[in-house]
Symmetry: C2
Subunit: 146 residues, 2 copies
């Protein structure tokens, strides 16, 4: 039977984390797979894109963003019994760095939360969409209740 | 444990059917889920889009397309032990009718094959992409070897 060996749960900024966490925990158990978790924090200082209204971001503010994210994701990791070495919270672009992390750690299934998107949102795309198109492994999009 | 109850395998025109079929069979077995299969055949006659070069499609040619698709998908269904009543091959738009079929039959996981897409392909989107954004349930994109 084609079991998944290493599942990567990619957490975004959504408030629906618990729903995706529960699903990831179930699947990891069913497949007896290693479960890892990642969260990418946008680095506004390093970005060459002019973020209107947030061009006064300081190094301290960026560090706060990262530290807050680390604290939040650590809580989820603890609930999922994921050890610290498989809990990756770092600066990066969720669209590409989720796939990079998956490649580096030989992940064979990425789990992402997915909201329904319509109109302009569809055109702009989403993390789930980017991961789907760039991943070299399978991708499970867990439908979140809007 | 959050098991999937009804899995819908949505087959497209790719030649990589076997890869997706094997994955669907494994998952259905693991989840002890009902497995259904669908394939949508584009109806060029009903479309309001002017298909360049294929505007001489006749009713007979359309029927041939559908019958050929039915024969092909029937072979896959038989290998997967899917009975005829859960093997849906019909005219429609794969982008929307996969989701409609999933809704109608209370599917909680849609499995689609996914090719990597870049550049213009990304912009044009794919069935996997459309299903991801419109589905009201989870979507597993099985990565196909290009």
């Amino acid at each position: 039977m084609a079991n998944y060996q290493h599942i990567l749960l990619a957490i975004d900024t959504s408030e629906h984390h618990q729903q995706v966490c529960d699903k990831a925990a179930s699947l990891a158990q069913q497949h007896q797979a290693t479960l890892s978790i990642c969260h990418l924090v946008e680095n506004y200082l390093a970005s060459d894109f002019a973020y209107e209204g947030i061009n006064n971001v300081t190094v301290e503010m960026q560090d706060d963003l990262l530290n807050n994210a680390k604290a939040r994701i650590k809580t989820h990791a603890a609930m999922l019994n994921i050890p610290q070495e498989r809990c990756w919270v770092e600066f990066g672009n969720p669209r590409y760095d989720v796939v990079r992390l998956a490649d580096e750690h030989k992940v064979d299934l990425i789990i992402v939360g997915s909201h329904g998107r319509h109109g302009l949102q569809l055109l702009l795309g989403s993390t789930a969409n980017a991961v789907l198109h760039h991943a070299k492994c399978d991708v499970l999009a867990v439908r979140l209740n809007n």
